[in-house]
């Protein structure tokens, strides 16, 4: 695996490199660790508090690792009109999770997202990088079965 230092270094040369660097670290490690915060602070000549200040603003950056599969249920208006709330309840019940939580076996993280741009075919759910349209509980579960 690429060393953190190397991953981060390539971004210090570009304007506004901190955001892309955070994305790269999040993608490589699945979260932003304490160690990564130190490395980022060092590379960008910030204090650790400044790095933490930036990353905690954004939903995509997490201080803890997410589950192996991240399920994002759309909670925005077009999906609401097709009962996304009921779908969310079915999924939170099924996994025994509240939104934002991860199963104890670290398999599944369930989250809410506001709009996936798939508003014409709601309700929409994103599993990792794939969007499922006209989603229901069965579609979500069978998608998970297929990628397991």
């Amino acid at each position: 695996m690429k060393k953190l230092k190397e991953t981060i270094k390539s971004f210090t040369e570009i304007e506004g490199g901190l955001m892309p660097a955070l994305h790269a670290v999040q993608e490589q490690e699945g979260h932003i660790s304490k160690n990564a915060i130190s490395e980022l602070a060092h590379a960008f000549n910030y204090s650790k508090a400044e790095v933490l200040d930036v990353l905690t603003y954004y939903d995509d950056f997490t201080l803890e690792p997410s589950g192996e599969h991240v399920i994002r249920v759309c909670g925005a208006e077009a999906c609401q009109s097709l009962k996304s709330k009921e779908l969310t309840d079915l999924l939170t019940d099924h996994f025994g999770l509240n939104l934002g939580e991860t199963t104890s076996d670290s398999k599944i993280t369930l989250k809410e997202v506001f709009c996936l741009g798939n508003c014409a075919l709601g309700p929409s759910v994103m599993i990792n990088q794939t969007v499922i349209g006209e989603a229901d509980k069965d579609k979500v579960l069978s998608f998970l079965d297929n990628i397991e």
Partner: protein, 510 residues
């Protein structure tokens, strides 16, 4: 020799979300598929027909909706073609949903591989840039001013005036930032351009940059759009290879390049000053204006900020005369608007038309009834900071001016349909919840007021005749409106006012 048959299978988020990926996988493995050519086109924007698979034989192109069809029983290409013919294929360009539209900006989507730069050029692409490079920059800005084009990102600011301000700045370095944060629930027009006609955006950006003297461009793309990221990344590379980006573009002395930056799940980062903060590597807090970004923007340089659709409108606008555009509509509402018809509606998708149309006409001509078959009860227009119309308001015109008179806005053009099972008090509460969740936190009325708003609406849901709470909600909304720094806090009251006014007794008893 016969020309091979072409099979078009879209590669676009909405199509993929209902089976285009699986259809492509199956069809590309059929026996005899070598005799055909598979093209991954974009979507036509008639999303209710997706996955729409087309076959072109001897110049005739027809398609079929393959939703929920199990293709895995086919072994050979002939099995597929026989099945295809049995499903009464039709030419999508002949259906009312497409035919009635006025597609100027979205003229190319669905037709071919969005990354095929020869197709792009053969269908009129890059002729506007080539012409522009031989024009005086002021001539270009004047034409955009005269066309009356206003920003399609939400605020409807005149594009030409903003370009003039950036152009007037005497600075050795200027930026162009394309706002591709498309955060409003119920919108997807930016996504559709980026996935199904990315060169249109790149050409529009290049012309705008040339006109104002910017040498570096950013696209700030929301992270929820991974396929758009893939398409833009490749399109930028292809444009560079073909000398449409980089140094000495098309042998002129103009240099311009684009850097794609990805957002990180914050709605407010679609607000232009928060977007700049984010690009610079900070928390996405809204900056107060002045200074205007056009004078002092990204990295303290003059910066032109425009929405994806605004920028993609520039090439077709410049290809015609300015009056071709300004004659369509009037006032601030000239040219076409890509309305995004979605939610609980049968024929959902992108509808590009003039502004001079009523919501009733949009629904009748394009959307038809609800998906659930129940009566329409509410229509949200203009996203979370827009308004809800009731089913009695079908004659409401969708011009910027008409919606302004009822405290609404066209915004980014989202239209979301709800049937009569909707609880409008929940929609009012969501407006406050969304604001509480997405507020950047800079102003108290937005940060705390929205949480108080949720609490008041909670109480009203239990007792809708409480005079005290209805007065309190109204005062809170007035305070947020008057004292918030940006439209997040300032316009969150709009959906709530509209629910109080247009849906009597559904949130507050009269």
């Amino acid at each position: 020799m016969n020309t091979p048959i072409k099979i078009y299978i879209p590669n676009e988020t909405a199509s993929n979300s209902v089976g285009a990926i699986e259809a492509h996988r199956t069809i590309s493995r059929l026996k005899g598929i070598e005799e055909a050519r598979i093209i991954r086109n974009g979507s036509w924007g008639a999303f209710w027909l997706e996955p729409f698979i087309e076959v072109e034989k001897e110049g005739h192109r027809k398609g079929v909706c393959y939703k929920s069809v199990d293709l895995s029983t086919f072994n050979t290409i002939d099995d597929f073609l026989k099945d295809f013919e049995s499903r009464q294929p039709f030419d999508i360009r002949e259906i009312d949903f497409i035919k009635k539209q006025k597609r100027i900006v979205f003229s190319r989507i669905g037709m071919d591989d969005p990354l095929d730069i020869s197709f792009y050029q053969n269908s009129g692409g890059y002729s506007a840039l080539k012409n522009a490079l031989n024009l005086d920059q002021q001539t270009i800005i004047d034409k955009i001013k005269k066309s009356g084009l206003t920003g399609r990102g939400g605020a409807a600011f005149p594009t030409g005036i903003k370009m003039q301000t950036v152009s007037d700045q005497d600075n050795s370095l200027k930026y162009l930032a394309c706002n591709a944060d498309e955060g409003d629930g119920g919108t997807f027009s930016d996504r559709l351009i980026m996935e199904s006609d990315p060169f249109a955006l790149i050409e529009g950006m290049t012309i705008a940059a040339f006109a104002v003297g910017a040498s570096k461009g950013f696209i700030y793309l929301r992270s929820e759009y991974p396929l758009a990221k893939t398409y833009l990344t490749r399109a930028i590379e292809i444009a560079r290879k073909n000398n449409f980006l980089g140094k000495n573009i098309q042998s002129s002395d103009f240099d311009f390049d684009i850097d794609l930056r990805i957002g990180a799940g914050s709605y407010v980062c679609g607000e232009e000053t928060a977007m700049m903060e984010s690009i610079e590597g900070r928390r996405g807090l809204v900056r107060s204006k002045p200074p205007l970004p056009a004078i002092n923007g990204l990295f303290d340089r003059p910066t032109l900020i425009n929405n994806v659709v605004t920028l993609a409108t520039i090439p077709p606008l410049l290809n015609g005369s300015h009056s071709d555009f300004s004659d369509l509509g009037s006032g601030k509402s000239t040219g076409t608007m890509p309305f995004q018809l979605c939610g609980n509606i049968q024929q959902s998708g992108l509808v590009e038309t003039g502004f001079d149309i009523t919501i009733g006409e949009i629904i009748e001509n394009y959307g038809k009834g609800t998906k659930t078959g129940m009566p329409i009860h509410a229509i949200q227009i203009g996203g979370p900071l827009g308004i809800y119309l009731s089913s009695k308001m079908m004659s409401t015109k969708l011009t910027i001016e008409s919606l302004q008179t009822i405290k609404g806005s066209v915004g980014h053009g989202g239209i979301v349909i709800f049937d009569d099972t909707v609880d409008m008090s929940e929609q009012a509460k969501f407006a406050m919840e969304f604001c509480a969740k997405e507020s950047c936190g800079k102003c108290t009325p937005c940060r705390i007021g929205s949480i108080r708003g949720v609490e008041i609406i909670d109480r009203l849901q239990k007792n809708s005749s409480s005079k005290e709470d209805s007065i309190l909600l109204n005062e809170l909304c007035k305070t947020m409106e008057a004292t918030s720094l940006c439209a997040m806090g300032g316009m969150t009251p709009n959906p709530i006012y509209s629910i109080i006014n247009n849906f009597p007794n559904e949130l507050i008893d009269e």
